[in-house]
Amino acid sequence: MGTGELTGFLAGLCVAVLPMLAAGFWLGRRTARQRSLGGLGTPVEHATFETLHTASLAAPPLRAGLTEETARKSARRLRTLLGTDALCLTDDQAVLAWDGVGEHHRAEITERLLGPLETGRGEAFRLKCDEPDCPLRWAVVAPLTVDDRVHGALVACAPGESAVLVRAAGEVARWVSVQLELADLDRSRTRLIEAEIKALRAQISPHFIFNSLAVIASFVRTDPERARELLLEFADFTRYSFRRHGDFTTLADELHAIDHYLALVRARFGERLSVTLQIAPEVLPVALPFLCLQPLVENAVKHGLEGKAVTAGGKSHISITAQDAGAEALVVIEDDGVGMDPALLRRILAGEGSPSGGIGLCNVDERLRQVYGDDHGLVIETAVGAGMKITARLPKYQPGVHSGGRLPRE
C-alpha cells in the first residue's frame, strides 16, 4: 500500500508540475515585459524614462493608421503624457476617440474643429459649458499633418488657459504626425511587396509555347490522335498557368500541371527523357505558391538534356519526390545533367546572373522566401557535371496561405 501511494503521489506531482511550469513561464514573460522601468537614475532622468515609455506605448496602435480603434487605444496613453483632464483625437471630420471626463463637449469640439483643420494651425479657445461642475473650460487644438495635408487633430482640454499646455499639445501632435507618416510608409511598403509578388508570379516561357506548338504541328499529319492528346495537354497546362484567382494552389494541382508539362516535353524529346515520381499521398493537400515547382522541373529538363548530344543518344533522368516530414512537406527535384558552377549559381540567386541561366530558380527562391520566411528558400546541391538536386521545404500550415479553393481531383 505504502509504495502504491508514494508512486501515485509522484505521478501526481509530475502532472501537477507541468501546468505550473507553463503558468510560471507565461507569468514570467508577462511581468518581464512590464517591468522595463527600474529605479535607475535621478528623478529627472526617471521622469524622462517615464515619458519616453508612455510615448513608446502609444506608438504601436498609431502605426496602423488613424482609425476609431487605434485612436481609442492611443488616446489613453497620450492623455497620461500630457496630464490633462480630457483628450480627444479626431480625423478631418469628427471626433474619433475621447479619453477622460466631459464627453458632452464632443459636438462642440467637432464644430470648432473646422477652422484649425482648414488652416492647419493650432488654436486655443474657451469652451461653452452649462454644467457647473464640469472642469473643462479651455481646449487646445493641434492639427495632425502628414505630407503637408491635415489628417486630423489632437484636442486637449483643461480647466484653465495655459501656455505650457499649448506648447506641449503642439509637440505631442507633431510626434503623432510622425507616427502617422510612418504608418503611411508601412502601408506603401506592404503595397510594394504585394506588387512584387504579383510581378514575381511565374510566367510561362514563350519558348515553351513555340516549341510545344511546333511539336504538335509535327504530329498533326503523322499521328492526329496523338496531336489531339497533346493539344489537350497544352490547353490544360495553359489554363492552369493563366488562371487569375488566388496566389496559392495545392501540391496535387501543381503536380498535375507538371504532368501536362512533361507530356509536352516528352513529345519533343521522346526516349531521351525519363522521369520517376515518388509522392507521399499525405502531402498532396499542402498549399503552396502557384507555379513554384514547375519552373524547377523545367530547369531540370533543360539542365538534364543540355550538353548531351542527340547523336550520342544521351539520356537524361529526372526524379521528383514529395515526402511527408512532420509539419512540412519535402519536395526534391533531381536531374543527372551538366550541373552548374556553385559560384555562378550563387550569383544567379543573388539576382545578378545571366537572364537565360536561372531566372526561374531565382524567382521561385524569392517567392518561397516572401511567403514562408528566409529559412524556407531553395536548397540547391550541384557541381559542374554532377547534376543538380533542388530541395524545397513547404510548411503544411502557414498563416495566410491557403489554396484558392479548387478541389484536387481524386
Binding site: G8, G12, A16, R72, T250, L255, Q278, G326, A327, H402
Partner: protein
Amino acid sequence: MNENYVVPAVALVVVATILVGAFGLRISRTTSDFYVASRTVGPRLNAAAISGEYLSAASFLGIAGLVLVQGPDMLWYPVGYTAGYLVLLLFVAAPLRRSGAYTLPDFAEARLASPAVRRLAGAFVVGVGWLYLLPQLQGAGLTLAVLTDAPDWLGGVIVAAVVVATVAAGGMRSITFVQAFQYWLKLTALLVPALFLVLAWQGDGAPRHAFDEPATFREQRVVRVDDSLDLKLDRPLDVTASGTIDGRRYQDQRVSLSAGTHRVERGTRLTFTEGDAVPVADRGSNGGMSTSLAAGREERPLYATYGLILATFLGTMGLPHVVVRFYTSPHGVAARRTTVVVLALIGAFYLLPPLYGALGRLYAPELTLSGDADAAVLLLPERMIGGLGGDLLGALVAGGAFAAFLSTASGLTMAVAGVLTQDVLPSRGVRQFRFATGLAMVVPLAVSALAGGLPVADAVGLAFAVSASSFCPLLVLGIWWHRLTPPGAAAGMLVGGGSALVAVAATMAGYPGGGPLHALLAWPALWSVPLGFLTMVLVSLATPGKVPAGTSAILARFHLPEALAGGQAHGAATEIEAGADSWRRVRTRGNG
C-alpha cells in the same frame, strides 16, 4: 503462456511496422503512372489510419478488463470512445479541414491570429500527448510482464525505443499505410481468436452467467495474490491457503474464513474449489488498466458515468494525433466522409472487447483477485482452447496488443514532437525534430518509471478530460461563434484545461481520500468542460474590441465548400473550367 510463440509474434509485428513504414512508398513510378502516383488518400484508407492510430492499449486490453471486473456499466467506455467521433463529425471535421490547419496550434493561429494563443494551445497539446503516452508505455510493460517473465519496465522501454528509432530516423514516411495496416492487424488479432473462443464456449454448452451475480470458479484454481488486498466476503468461505491471512501464517492449510473483511498479504496463494464464488477484492491501487484510483465510482455511479460520457464524447476532437490525420483528406467533404467510415470501423472493433470481458468473467474470474484483469484478453485463448491452437491464438492477440501500443505511441510521439519543434524549441531543422522526438518520449517514460503503479484507465480518462475542457471549447466556439476573441480563448483554455489538469494531479497524488470531493476531482469533465466554455464566452464578451479582423472571411472559409468559396469570387474562372471539363468528357468518349 508459451513464450516460444509470443516473442516471435511481437517481434513480427515490430518488424512489419518498420517495413511498411519505411518501404510502403518507396515504389517509384514513371510519369505514365502519374494518376496512380498522385492519388490523394481516400476516405476509407484514411479512416483505417485514423482508427489504427486511435485504438490504443486502453481499448485493446483495458475495456475487456473493465467489463470483467466491474460489469456492463463499463460499456460506456467503448460507447464514449466511439461517440466522440460523432461529435467530431457533426461540429468539427469539415470546418477544421477547410481551415487548412495541420495541428491544433495551427488552428488556434488560423482562427484567432494570435501567437500567444498558439503557444498556449501548443503547451496543452504536449500535456495531453504526454498524459496519453503514459498508459501506452505502462500497458506495454504490463503485457510483456504477463506474457513472459520480463520485468515491468521492459515492454515500455521496447515500445519507446522502437517508436523513437523509427520516427526519428524518418522511417514513418508512409504513416497512413502503417496506421491502416495496424488497424486491420488489431481487428484480426481480436476477431479471429474471438470466433474460436465463441465456438469453444458453445462446445462447453454455452454456459450463461448473470452479471449481477458474483462470478464463480468453474474448476479448482490456485490464485496468487501479487499485491496485498482486503477480501470482502458476504458469506463464509473455505479455502486452502499458504501465506499470510489476517496476520496469521498458513502452510497449505484449509482455512475457514467468516463473512467480513480479511486482509491477505502479498505472495499468498489461495486455492479455491469448483463452485466457489469469487470474493470481492478491495485494493488501494495497482498497475492494472481496469481498476481505478477513482474508486469513487461506487460512491457516485451516476455522476461518474456522466463525467466519463462527457469527457470521451468531447475529448476525442482534442487528441493531437487524431486531428493531424484530417489534414490528409483532400477537402472538407472528404474529411466528413472519413469520419463516417471511422465511426463504422471503430464501432465494429468495439464489439469485440466486451465479448472478451464477458467470457473472462466466466472462464478467468480469478483475475479480479490477482489484479491482472487487463490480461484477460491475452489469457483467454490459452485458458479456453489450450494446446498449440491456444498458444498460436494467444500469440496473435499479443501481436495485436503490441500493434496497439506501437501505433498510438508513434502517432502521439509524432504529434508531440511536431509541436515541440514548431512552437517550443528554438530553431527548425531535421536534427531538431529528432531531438524533439526523444524529448517527447523520454518524459512519459521517466514518469512511468517513477510511478509504476499508476492506474492506466485513469490516465486515459484524464487525458480525455483535459482535452475536452481545453480544446473542445476552442474548436467548437472557434468554428461556430464569431465573437470569440484571443483573450477569451486563452482564458477558457487556461481555466477549463488548467482546472482539469489540477484535478487530475490531485487525484493521482491521492489528495482527498474519498467522499463527494474525491468523485468531483476524479471525474473533472462534468464541471471543467462547462467552466471552460463559460470562461471562454464571458471573457470574449468582455473584450469585444479584440475580435480579430477578418473573422467573417475566415468563418466563411471554414463553412463554405471549397469549390463554392473559390467560385464565388471568380465566377468567370469557374465557367471556363466547366467548359474545359465538358471538353475532357468528349475526349474520353472519343477514346472509348
